[in-house]
Symmetry: C2
Subunit: 215 residues, 2 copies
């Protein structure tokens, strides 16, 4: 747990913080292929928690092996680095969304981001994907209340921009949703993604001690 890096193999996880008053902020979502920072090599403590969303498979890569991989396989270092840069870009875009977009655009924006990120790793099918996130979690990620998150989802539904049933989200017209969100995918830097990220097998290749996690 203290040393090394975790990789999401299947399912979703997220980082979060709990404030003194008990409220929660979800910082970002970790999708298959995403990795934790190399925190422990340099920092004393982590400043946030991680929780899984629905059934999730996680691999742990221990510190020594990781270091060996970084030096032995340049593509590992590149994948890690690209991952860190994209993660940071996503955080910046989230700040922008929470700071300057209204609740409606925030929800739409997150749904677009999820689609593009999942598509990169082959986790979308046709026009839909699995989103194992409750409305309370959605609200906590976007800085709005659970109730209002529900109302925004309903509005998107009424406007035929999304169809949601049982954790499956369908986006009949992605361009329309992107327009509603003022979504510009460039911040995701998808075209710069190393092949290792696209290759779902790569994560498994790194896997040493897979861990399953329940809800």
């Amino acid at each position: 747990m203290p040393n090394g890096v975790f990789v999401v193999i299947a399912g979703h996880a997220c980082r979060y913080k709990i404030l003194p008053d008990g409220s929660r902020q979800i910082l970002d979502f970790m999708l298959p292929g995403d990795k934790t920072e190399l925190h422990s090599l340099l920092l004393k403590a982590t400043d946030h928690g991680i929780l899984t969303l629905g059934p999730t498979t996680i691999a742990r890569i221990d510190r020594d092996r990781l270091i060996a991989d970084i030096f032995g396989h340049p593509q590992v270092a590149v994948a890690l680095w690209w991952n860190a840069l994209q993660r940071e870009a996503i955080l910046r875009e989230r700040i922008t969304a929470i700071g300057r977009r209204d609740a409606y655009a925030r929800v739409a924006h997150l749904l677009c981001e999820m689609f593009e990120r999942l598509r990169l790793v082959g986790e979308t099918a046709d026009h839909h994907y699995t989103l194992p996130v409750t409305q309370a979690e959605l609200g906590d990620a976007l800085g709005i209340s659970e109730v209002y998150a529900n109302r925004m989802l309903r509005r998107l539904h009424d406007e035929k921009l999304i169809v949601s049933e049982r954790r499956i989200l369908r986006i009949p017209n992605l361009d329309a949703l992107k327009a509603a969100a003022a979504f510009d995918a460039r911040y995701l830097h998808l075209e710069g993604a190393p092949q290792a990220v696209r290759d779902a097998v790569s994560a498994r290749r790194l896997m040493r001690s897979p861990v399953r996690s329940g809800t």
Copy 2:
């Protein structure tokens, strides 16, 4: 400009995004010693702009020299890496602040963060520091309006938590301000800061082509 890294030597800068509707979000502040990401080595385009706040001195380190330094001087790599980790932690904390704190706590929190970060690099004196930021910029950084940023500053002033005159901010009782902000400095990971970061000279040592920038 395209390749390499920029280091702030003196003064302040910030990253920002402009939304389609013209509103601006300031993403984070760059203080002396802070560096830009190694973007260009991996990514095609940058997803945000950078602007200076007041008179600022910036050094550019070109790509080849940087790579040589990383391999030749481990402390350069460590400083870069620590910088990246702290930058990310700051972004996460900003998300938390904008998403879940009220405007009053946000302002107080940012002022505390600035104090701790500036103190690390020796840019504070006694109980005050220079904050070359307009109230409009403060609002854009915290996701509130210029007018409300002003009211929150005034409230902090009325409560004797800050004294501000001419870009100099005085914090007579830091603990009281931290309490108002529910500020917990752990996310800054100050104790993990490499010596190179504390050493103001280190930035100058890296300097190759210093650039001055006006307001």
